[in-house]
């Protein structure tokens, strides 16, 4: 009996100990009062706007920090049936390219406009990865107002990073490709025929209008990411490269052979001088430049014909290569501009380069070789030092403005905090799971707001209620105001976020457009009041000049349309009040709805395919009588002469 009790006791202890034998993994609990730090009381506002790339959804999302709440999905490169982006006649030209209308893209990175290396938050730039483009979003209207296609580029990944006064937005090509008239070449001839183009897009300091100023013809590497120099390194740009092996097949292996690839340092001030001196060469290239006019509410697309190219093998002292271990992904400059951090995703260390040493090495011709005549600097001469044992798979680095850097580690699924001067690792926190980009508000600028940090992860697994095979992407918010990083919040995101930027809400929240003044509406089909509502026939085109105001459309009874006609509803929202959009859609339309903002005119194209009476209605719940906001359009068979007739809403 006594023996049995002992055995039972031993057994129980063994069972109790068994789970604790397994080493602890990345399962850290929330400590302290995290909830109150992310609680934004009802009716109060978040402290930061977080503009988050949507990755494969081709959009941006607007998120508040610290709450993690999503305020808006902002369509950029992808059509958005929710508000008619890419469906209305006015917005279709925004998605035009040299390949025609492209309804989707992959938006990876955000750049918020800067002045003196600080966010001014006038515009947000985003890149299209697949069909290379750069978009500019106006942050007073949260609307995409300009899209510029990038010629000679493929896989616009190293983009849209900007200089400290938004002088330039860059676009480096991920895929090197053959360019020009003879691009039908054997893929085997990669080394001879392929080029890696880097584009510098000038930004008008007043209007924000973009212009492809010049391109640099670089060797056929893969350009991955970039960051402008700032403050003391203002005037330089740093591009990470991989596949300096110049492989064109099975890159997984063939582009991972060298111990070191390069960070390409570009002296863009010097390049600017060469452009001014007429050293560029004009090359034929087709690319679309699309602009939204906020007074006509209409976009135009212009196909450009040529681009200015600089050849750095002839024009010395523009391009230098810094050896960087191994297949660097992120290249980031610290707030002072002195340090350049290369995150070699297959490397065991994080190398930190010194801008001062780089200039000295150039001065002293401290070269270890060259690439087609462009100098390769000596690694040791440029190196400030290496962060030892930081973790596995370093990808990106952000800064807190207090002397620390934070590097995301994809493979070991953590963020590592280290001292920029001493290169010592001072803290690490797990992420859930496999963090890609990380972001500190103002992190890439000269003046970071070192209060919060967000990890945007690639793998979600068990973090939320499961939703079948396809899951949301997870993000974590950390408090970085103290010595130790503290996990505060775990929140789902839209699309697949890559990079994001955040800035204080106070920069823009009082500058928001609330409606478009009707008197400034110069749309050719705009109506300024209900009196002019009408229907006109031009051949087989029917133009409906329509008004919408709570809660009616004028006209709302239309007859005299035939099968074979094309109907254009030009709907003007006459409201002059905030938050009163009206929507429009008609039965059987092969497009989407349109949402018309107050004071805006938007055009909905519809081709009736059969006779009948087709209802249309307001799709945005606008008022108490929203359900009454509707109308009918009669379609007669082809050849039947039903007189054109419309009523403008007289009470019966």
């Amino acid at each position: 009996m006594k023996k049995n009790v002992w055995l039972l006791a031993i057994g129980l202890i063994a069972v109790a100990l068994a789970p604790s034998c397994k080493p602890k993994g990345a399962q850290s609990a929330i400590t302290g009062d995290a909830a109150s730090k992310v609680y934004v009381a009802p009716g109060t506002h978040d402290e930061f706007y977080n503009i988050v790339s949507g990755g494969f959804n081709g959009q941006m999302s607007v998120v508040g920090l610290p709450s993690g709440r999503v305020f808006k999905i902002l369509p950029v490169f992808s059509v958005h049936p929710e508000n008619g982006w890419g469906f209305s006649e006015e917005t279709k030209p925004m998605l035009n390219t040299s390949h025609g209308f492209v309804p989707w893209d992959d938006l990876h990175h955000i750049a918020i406009s800067m002045t003196n290396a600080e966010h001014d938050a006038r515009w947000a730039f985003g890149n299209a990865n697949n069909t290379p483009r750069i978009a500019r979003v106006d942050l007073t209207s949260f609307k995409t107002v300009e899209i510029l296609e990038i010629p000679n580029s493929a896989g616009n990944h190293s983009s849209p990073f900007i200089t400290q006064n938004t002088e330039y937005v860059v676009a480096g090509t991920r895929f090197s490709v053959p360019v020009g008239e003879n691009s039908d070449v054997s893929i085997d001839s990669y080394k001879e025929n392929f080029k890696g183009y880097i584009s510098f897009i000038g930004v008008d300091p007043k209007t924000g209008d973009m212009d492809l100023s010049f391109q640099i013809e670089a060797p056929p590497f893969n350009f991955d990411l970039a960051r402008a120099g700032k403050n003391k390194s203002h005037g330089w740009f740093f591009f990470s490269t991989y596949n300096t092996e110049m492989a064109h097949t099975l890159l997984e292996v063939n582009a991972s052979q060298k111990d070191k690839d390069f960070i390409m340092a570009v002296n863009w001030k010097k390049a600017e001088e060469y452009v001014k001196a007429g050293k560029g060469k004009k090359v034929k290239a087709k690319y679309a430049h699309n602009k939204m006019n906020e007074e006509t509410h209409t976009a135009t697309s212009t196909i450009m014909e040529e681009v200015l190219v600089l050849d750095p093998t002839e024009l010395k002292d523009i391009v230098y290569f810094i050896p960087c271990p191994k297949s660097p992904h992120g290249t980031d400059t610290d707030p002072s501009g002195e340090y350049i951090v290369g995150s070699g995703k297959l490397a065991a260390v994080i190398p930190v380069f010194s801008f001062t040493k780089m200039l000295a090495a150039i001065e002293n011709k401290d070269f270890e070789g060259d690439v087609n005549g462009m100098p390769v600097l000596k690694y040791e001469s440029v190196l400030h030092g290496e962060v030892e044992k930081p973790g596995l798979g370093p990808l990106h680095t952000e800064f807190d403005g207090k002397g620390f850097a934070y590097t995301s580690m994809f493979v070991s699924s953590e963020i590592v905090k280290w001292n920029i001067e001493t290169l010592e690792v001072v803290d690490r926190v797990p992420t859930y799971y496999s963090v890609g980009h990380l972001m500190i508000p103002g992190g890439p600028t000269g003046k970071p707001h070192g209060k919060y940090m967000v990890a945007y992860n690639k793998i979600t697994k068990d973090r939320y209620l499961p939703t079948g095979p396809e899951l949301t992407q997870s993000a974590q918010l950390y408090d970085i105001s103290g010595d130790k990083m503290q996990l505060l919040l775990d929140f789902p995101t839209i699309g697949e976020p890559h990079y994001a930027e955040a800035f204080p809400a106070a920069l823009i929240k009082d500058k928001q457009v609330k409606f478009y003044p009707l008197e400034k509406n110069n749309h050719p089909y705009a109506l300024k009041g209900v009196a002019d509502a009408r229907v006109e026939r031009k051949g087989n085109e029917i133009h409906v000049y329509m008004t919408s105001i709570r809660s009616n459309f004028r006209p709302d009874n239309i007859e005299g349309v035939n099968v074979g006609d094309v109907v254009y509803f030009h709907v003007t929202n006459l409201e002059q009040d905030w938050d009163v959009p009206h929507g429009f859609s008609i039965k059987g339309a092969n497009t989407a709805e349109i949402l018309i903002m107050p004071g805006e005119t938007s055009t909905y194209k519809w081709t009736p395919d059969r006779p009948g009476v087709f209802p249309f209605y307001c799709t945005d719940f606008c008022s108490a009588l929203h359900q009454e906001m509707q109308g009918y359009l009669r379609v007669s068979p082809k050849g039947v002469n039903t007189p054109l007739k419309y009523s403008t809403g007289e009470a019966q």
Partner: protein
């Protein structure tokens, strides 16, 4: 009749001058708040025009059949500038005359004007609130929408406020100066000045 003291005459002058801002400042305001309008809708009535969220108020009010508010709704806008001008002239005259009857007379004019404005506002508010389109979408049995004359009033989902605006407040200040002048004048009369 007895001449006024110099001080009281100056009070009359100041009171007359306080009418001048009526030309440059709003005289009356009407504000509306609703759950959907936390920031409020505000309409200001000036000497000869309206300003503020008049279009939004019209947009909201058409559901209950209220008339479209516009400058043409106020015939007062055609003659108010002359009435106010006349008041200023009378004030200046009272100052120049400087007799007790001129002070009393001017005060009486101002008081009459003030009452006239209130009566007129009430009349307009009554019309606006009761004279509803029979085809209105929303009809609430027995409900009328007369805005408050002065102060707050709840009208369906709206809280309405009506009251004087900058110009009127300055004018009321001027009227108070006249009262002060009258009181001073009375005291000078009842307490004979001794040497």
């Amino acid at each position: 009749m007895k001449p006024l003291s110099l001080f009281n005459r100056i009070l009359i002058l100041i009171a007359a001058l306080t009418i001048i801002p009526s030309y440059f400042t709003p005289l009356w305001q009407i504000s509306l708040w609703a759950p959907q309008y936390p920031e409020g809708l505000n309409m200001k009535i000036w000497i000869d025009h309206l300003s503020g969220n008049v279009d939004q108020i019209n947009g909201v009010n058409h559901y209950i059949g209220m008339r479209h508010i516009g400058d043409e709704m106020f015939p007062e806008f055609c003659f108010l500038i002359y009435v106010i001008g006349g008041l200023i002239a009378m004030g200046l005259a009272a100052f120049v005359i400087g007799r007790r009857w001129s002070l009393y007379g001017f005060f009486a004019l101002i008081a009459l004007f003030g009452m006239g404005v209130l009566v007129d506002m009430y009349r307009w508010g009554y019309q606006y609130g009761h004279n509803l389109d029979p085809k209105a979408a929303i009809k609430v049995e027995g409900m009328s929408y007369q805005p408050p004359l002065i102060g707050y009033k709840e009208l369906l989902n709206f809280l309405a406020y009506s009251g004087p605006d900058t110009g009127s407040w300055i004018l009321i200040g001027g009227a108070c100066l006249l009262i002060l002048a009258i009181v001073r004048d009375k005291m000078e009369k009842s307490i004979p000045l001794t040497k």
